[in-house]
Symmetry: C2
Subunit: 213 residues, 2 copies
């Protein structure tokens, strides 16, 4: 049975998955890039972008789980790009260049229809306008027995959490305050939704937790 998994979702000590005032120049909001310092330093991250080096150890072990047994992805629209409202044209094809690091079907949640975009490296972006359940059904079909990974952002993860659809979620709590922005931890009653913390692995770059139903 295919599961819906979240990996490497970083939040601040005060629970924010992005800082305030997100924009094209600061897609993670003010201060938000600090959330991912532990991740971009890992060997796993560098390998994705064809670079050598990077840290090994706890942070890298968690980063690497993201790439195991994943057959399709779901992204919120704001994670796909900064454009709001109807698509003005077909120019925007994501933040990741010609060869995005997904290498699979990626289902982007949006209210505005758009034709699918085949990219290099096996990634195809599809645009789903009929809601989170429809996106999950399509992603599971595309994953052919492997799991589906939900990439974010925080608002999209909250939608899936509230619907009880996330089976496993790795959150990395980074050692910073953001003060405001898009809140994940603390904005929803995870206990009432049936989640428990089943792993807690503190490391220098972040405290890693895994929540499961």
């Amino acid at each position: 049975m295919a599961r819906l998994r979240v990996h490497n979702f970083s939040v601040s000590l005060d629970g924010y998955g992005a800082g305030p005032a997100q924009s094209l120049d600061t897609p993670l909001g003010v201060g938000g890039e600090q959330l991912h310092e532990w991740f971009v330093a890992t060997r796993t991250f560098k390998q994705v972008y064809g670079e050598a080096g990077g840290t090994t150890g706890v942070d890298d072990d968690f980063a690497g789980r993201s790439f195991k047994n994943v057959g399709a992805w779901i992204l919120g629209r704001n994670m796909f790009g900064p454009i709001r409202g109807p698509w003005p044209d077909d120019a925007w094809k994501g933040w990741w260049g010609d060869d995005p690091p997904y290498h699979a079907d990626v289902f982007v949640l949006t209210h505005h229809p758009r034709a699918s975009i085949p990219m290099a490296g096996g990634t195809t972006f599809h645009f789903v306008t009929d809601g989170i359940h429809a996106a999950l059904d399509r992603a599971k079909a595309a994953a052919k027995g492997r799991d589906v990974q939900l990439g974010g952002g925080a608002a999209t993860i909250l939608q899936y959490l509230r619907a009880g659809l996330i089976d496993e979620m790795h959150v990395a709590i980074a050692p910073i305050l953001l003060g405001s922005g898009e809140q994940l931890l603390g904005s929803v009653d995870l206990l009432q939704l049936g989640y428990r913390c089943v792993e807690h692995v503190p490391a220098a770059g972040a405290t890693h937790i895994v929540l499961k139903k």
Copy 2:
């Protein structure tokens, strides 16, 4: 210059300093006692209550900071006891028995006046009805140059944070979810209030952070 310090304030992964449904039987709310498992296991905690043994290491080092250079305490009323509204009589003298672990003047914030209570071991409970600034002034005077420690709970800490009066705050993030209750982290814009995370020490029992202005 005397400082106002918070130590060993435990919150859940989702930022709660107490669980829901606090009562006489469950003063920390449902599940709240799990917040302090790291603390009650330490050698420092056991020594306070005259017991031998206990853990040493990071958790104990942080626990021990609480007892250095503190000349007076401030507590919210709910941390002093479960009684709400006017005091029915003078029977309630705190959760801690005849010899409370403060050994100093303790200023309890309340809307309802009551005579001071001298206890064994040098602790005296005073009841302050004219607000958080007055309590801090009286505590600083009583501390005679040493620091004042703010014991909690979450609502009282939030009041002092919002007034910009806390100089240093140690928070221990315990590896549990509480889902709801009294929220500290995530309920106030600490960055806007001028706080930064100046220490981040992950340990098995909790991730310890120190916030300073």
